[in-house]
């Protein structure tokens, strides 16, 4: 029954909105103003539920408001100078208590059914841990030992209106989550700092990422494609700038991608062994800094005090190499600075520290010492 209801509902919804609303030429695409049906069984169930409640509300509203507007029109002071005196009716009052109650039951039944369907935390064929950070997502593929961060890739210049905005403005990332089609994927969602919320509208998944908790959600995407979503829990200044992008690919393509990711990890290990020059490190560090640090410490290293301190001219960055490494590896308890130990490779870690110790005159005013990847490897060794 739902299939037919569905087709009907779309055009009827559009017509209704047209009727209700302000005429304007911008209203060409009405479907873009409704919830997305998505690409999973669950998301379609949710969409149908949404349309069902919407129509019930419209029907109730139509009845109540027509009685009201009829009264306003028919029983004005002019047309009806002598008001009636009735002011209660037990029958009527019982009826309009019981009938809504029955309608509610009719809504609650399919809603409870769909919810039970969603609440199924059986293991997936692929299990991915999703970790929210200020302000990016980390994806860890638990079976394949792959992990990476997903950052907003929209240019700052687009945000500040210096260049035209691209098609996927604010909905694009440097590295999307990749999952295979027709496969049960389970997400284990948590956060590293404050509460975030991981939302992919086309999967009808919205699950809060809470430090200290692991929430689960699952999906089985039925169509390949790129699906875009957002962080939906206020998580600080760049809450609006940490989108979720999921790319659903054919199973073969997924397997190839897994292999490629593993090779990449081996190459990175080789890079760690390599002898790095100061210039090479600084150059690489600048890129790492732009991706991971500018949001708080700013491009000019001035930060946004008092919450995000300046790095330019900082005593630690200029004179205390050990503490400098420690802060990046461990974060700062009770402050906004998080640990980057799991977010950056040894190479990137060394590079970014070196960059901050070289940039903004820090090298000239400070001791000019720099950090190489082997320092980080050394730091990570268990201390006895």
């Amino acid at each position: 029954m739902f299939k037919r209801f569905n087709i009907l509902s779309k055009s009827a919804y559009s017509a209704l909105l047209m009727l209700l609303l302000y005429p304007s030429e911008v209203l060409s695409d009405w479907d873009a103003l409704n919830m997305r049906e998505g690409v999973t069984q669950v998301s379609r169930d949710v969409f149908e539920l949404h349309m069902l409640i919407f129509y019930i509300c419209v029907a109730i509203g139509a009845v109540v408001f027509s009685v009201m507007f009829y009264s306003l029109f028919r029983y004005t002071k002019k047309r009806n100078p002598n008001p009636s005196t009735f002011h209660e009716s037990t029958k009527l009052e019982v009826a309009w208590t019981v009938v809504p109650f029955l309608i509610l039951i009719a809504m609650a039944v399919p809603a409870s059914k769909t919810l039970t369907e969603i609440y199924d935390d059986e293991e997936g064929e692929i299990n991915i841990q999703v970790v929210g950070y200020q302000w990016k997502w980390e994806y860890k593929y638990l079976e394949d030992d792959i992990n990476f961060f997903s950052n907003l890739s929209t240019d700052q210049d687009e945000i500040y209106n210096l260049v035209p905005k691209g098609e996927n403005y604010l909905l694009e990332v440097d590295e999307p989550l990749i999952i295979p089609v027709d496969t049960r994927v389970r997400f284990l969602i948590t956060a590293n700092d404050v509460i975030h919320s991981w939302w992919v509208p086309d999967f009808a998944i919205k699950q809060d990422a809470i430090p200290g908790f692991i929430n689960t959600a699952w999906t089985r995407a039925e169509e390949t494609g790129i699906y875009r979503g957002n962080c939906t829990e206020l998580c600080g200044k760049n809450h609006g700038f940490m989108p979720v992008v999921v790319k659903v690919v054919e199973k073969d393509e997924y397997n190839d991608w897994v292999l490629a990711k593993k090779e990449e990890a081996i190459k990175l290990a080789e890079l760690t062994e390599k002898e790095w020059s100061l210039a090479e490190l600084t150059e690489r560090g600048e890129g790492v800094y732009q991706k991971n640090c500018v949001a708080c410490h700013q491009m000019n290293g001035e930060g946004l005090p008092p919450i995000f301190p300046a790095l330019a001219g900082s005593d630690i960055v200029m004179f205390d190499k050990n503490r400098n490494v420690e802060i990046l590896m461990e974060g700062v308890q009770g402050a906004a600075m998080q640990s980057f130990a799991n977010q950056l490779s040894e190479v990137d870690m060394a590079a970014v520290i070196t960059y901050t110790r070289q940039a903004w005159g820090n090298a000239e005013n400070g001791d000019g010492e720099y950090v190489v990847p082997s320092d980080i490897v050394e730091y990570k060794k268990p201390k006895i």
């Binding site: 409704n34 949404h50 029983y75 009735f86 809504m107 509460i195 919320s197 919205k206 946004l304």
Partner: protein, 527 residues
């Protein structure tokens, strides 16, 4: 103090003292009511100005006017100021003016406490607003201040925010005690509970809600204070605490709080509809029972604000069903209002226009509330503009329209002058159009996927955000007209009769207009 005592001796007619001291030291319920109402209006304009900053930034995609940090401060202060500074004090002001006159009492039961509970407010909001000028800026974690964003990751001004909330809470609790004691002890002979005007009933229930939940809010902010300054870990997962606990505590306060902001509106609208329909309110008793059931249910639905935190299935089902149940008593109220209009003899003065708009738009807000209660659908709606549209529909054309309706309805009693009807209607139509142009499109941009509390957004939301901003500025500007109308009425106008409105019933209409400084020194008899 001695001057106050002396004036009591000297002045036989107990007229108001002169100058500033009248307002600082007053224990008169009418003066305190006036103070509350003006304070609330000032906060409405400040909170409204912040809303204009928000809407101006959202006029187009991209960051234009403010930075994300400041945007977050604006949305936080806008929420806090509108909830605690505009809507709540306005209802307390109306309670002060009207409850003693409606129950035939000479004043509130605890007049000095009344003075204190008002004069705490300017300090509370002074502290809150001063945080804008502090290093690190004002609170930026939303009016719901979820930990740990509001604790470990908060700007230093959070401590001032906490104290400000404590002071507001103290003020609300004192005000509520006063309302309850007045209603319980000072009704005129013959006025049984079930003969009380509905506004009095609505405030009695609201006052109990306030006393029940304000301490919970105080507890929540105290725990934050401990986490921030005294090394506890109530909400810090790294220390074994629980960030979700914060949300449970907050919403255990927060949901009854939502009804605190709408129940008095139910009372007001009931009076206005029966007056202008010239017909006794339909179903008085069921109105009372409906308000009581809404109040009781409000304590068992809090977690519907938290459907996405990962509660167990049983909890989600319980909170969904309990929330859906609220539709029943709310429906009863709407049906009663419609039945009161049916076969009435209706005229459309400004208060009635606001009341009719209230019924329609509040009901639309109720429908979207019902949609939000459906958990699977809420997974899509939660924290999008659909929610923003929903709660603004119940708060702006809900609570705020009811307050405006109340002002137009009772201002002839307060000032002795009629307001300018043509300008009142103009104010209504501008507000009505403004509010709908602002908030209706937000339903769609929410459904289409725009999250709330975003300073910038994807391009497909651009058109309707622009429309919404235009509506917001229209609504904002029309409130300047409201200020003008009120001032004009205070200064002069056609003289009002004691009855004021042809269909008005109730003790407050039996005294002169303007109401004398002291009314019902001898209690009236109620049949």
């Amino acid at each position: 103090m001695s001057s106050v005592i002396e004036s009591h001796h000297d002045d036989h007619h107990h007229g108001p003292a002169k100058g500033l001291m009248r307002w600082l030291l007053t224990t008169n319920h009418k003066d305190i009511g006036t103070l509350y109402l003006w304070f609330s209006f000032a906060m409405f304009l400040i909170g409204g100005a912040m809303a204009m900053v928000i809407r101006a930034e959202l006029f187009q995609p991209g960051m234009q006017i403010v930075q994300p940090e400041f945007y977050n401060q604006m949305l936080t202060l806008h929420g806090l100021i509108m909830v605690f500074g505009a809507v709540m004090p306005a209802f307390v002001g109306l309670a002060n003016w009207l409850i003693p006159m409606m129950v035939g009492a000479p004043d509130m039961a605890l007049p000095r406490l009344n003075n204190l509970s008002f004069w705490l407010l300017p300090f509370a909001f002074g502290i809150l607003l001063s945080s804008l000028f502090m290093e690190g800026g004002a609170p930026n974690f939303g009016w719901t201040f979820y930990a740990p964003l509001s604790t470990t990751y908060a700007p230093p001004s959070v401590t001032f925010f906490i104290f400000s909330v404590h002071i507001m809470g103290a003020s609300s609790i004192m005000g509520s005690i006063n309302v309850i004691v007045t209603i319980m002890n000072m009704r005129a002979p013959g006025m049984d509970l079930m003969k009380m005007p509905l506004f009095v009933w609505s405030w009695l229930i609201t006052a109990y809600l306030l006393i029940a939940v304000m301490p919970v809010l105080a507890g929540a902010v105290t725990m934050m204070l401990m986490d921030i300054h005294f090394g506890t870990s109530f909400f810090n997962a790294a220390g074994g605490g629980d960030p979700v606990l914060f949300q449970h505590i907050f919403w255990f306060f927060g949901h009854p709080e939502v009804y605190i902001m709408i129940l008095p509106a139910f009372g007001i609208i009931s009076h206005i509809i029966e007056t202008f329909a010239r017909k006794q309110l339909f179903g008085y008793e069921s109105m009372v029972w409906a308000m009581l059931s809404i109040a009781i249910l409000s304590f068992v639905v809090w977690a519907h604000h938290m459907f996405t935190v990962g509660m167990p299935l049983a909890a989600e089902l319980f909170f969904m069903w309990a929330t859906m149940l609220i539709a029943v008593p709310t429906g009863v109220k709407v049906f009663n209002w419609v039945a009161t209009m049916f076969k009435g003899s209706i005229s459309f003065e400004t208060p009635m226009l606001f009341a009719i708009a209230f019924v329609v738009l509040f009901t639309i807000g109720g429908f979207s509330g019902l949609m939000l209660s459906i958990v699977p659908a809420d997974f899509q709606y939660h924290d999008t503009y659909f929610v923003v549209a929903h709660f603004h529909y119940v708060l702006v054309p809900g609570s705020i329209f009811s307050i405006m309706a109340a002002v137009y309805y009772w201002i002839p009693k307060w000032t002795g002058n009629m307001y300018d009807e043509r300008m009142g209607r103009l104010h209504f139509w501008l507000s009505f159009v403004g509010v709908n142009v602002t908030f209706f499109p937000q339903h769609w941009i929410g459904l289409a996927g725009m999250p709330r509390r975003y300073p910038d957004y994807a391009l497909q939301f651009a058109d309707w955000n622009m429309v919404s901003t235009a509506g917001a500025f229209l609504f904002g500007a029309s409130q300047i007209l409201f200020l003008f109308i009120v001032l004009k009425t205070v200064l002069g106008g056609k003289k009002a009769t004691p009855q004021v409105w042809e269909g008005a019933r109730g003790l407050e209409w039996s005294v002169e207009s303007p109401a004398p400084y002291h009314t019902f020194s001898t209690p009236p008899k109620v049949k």
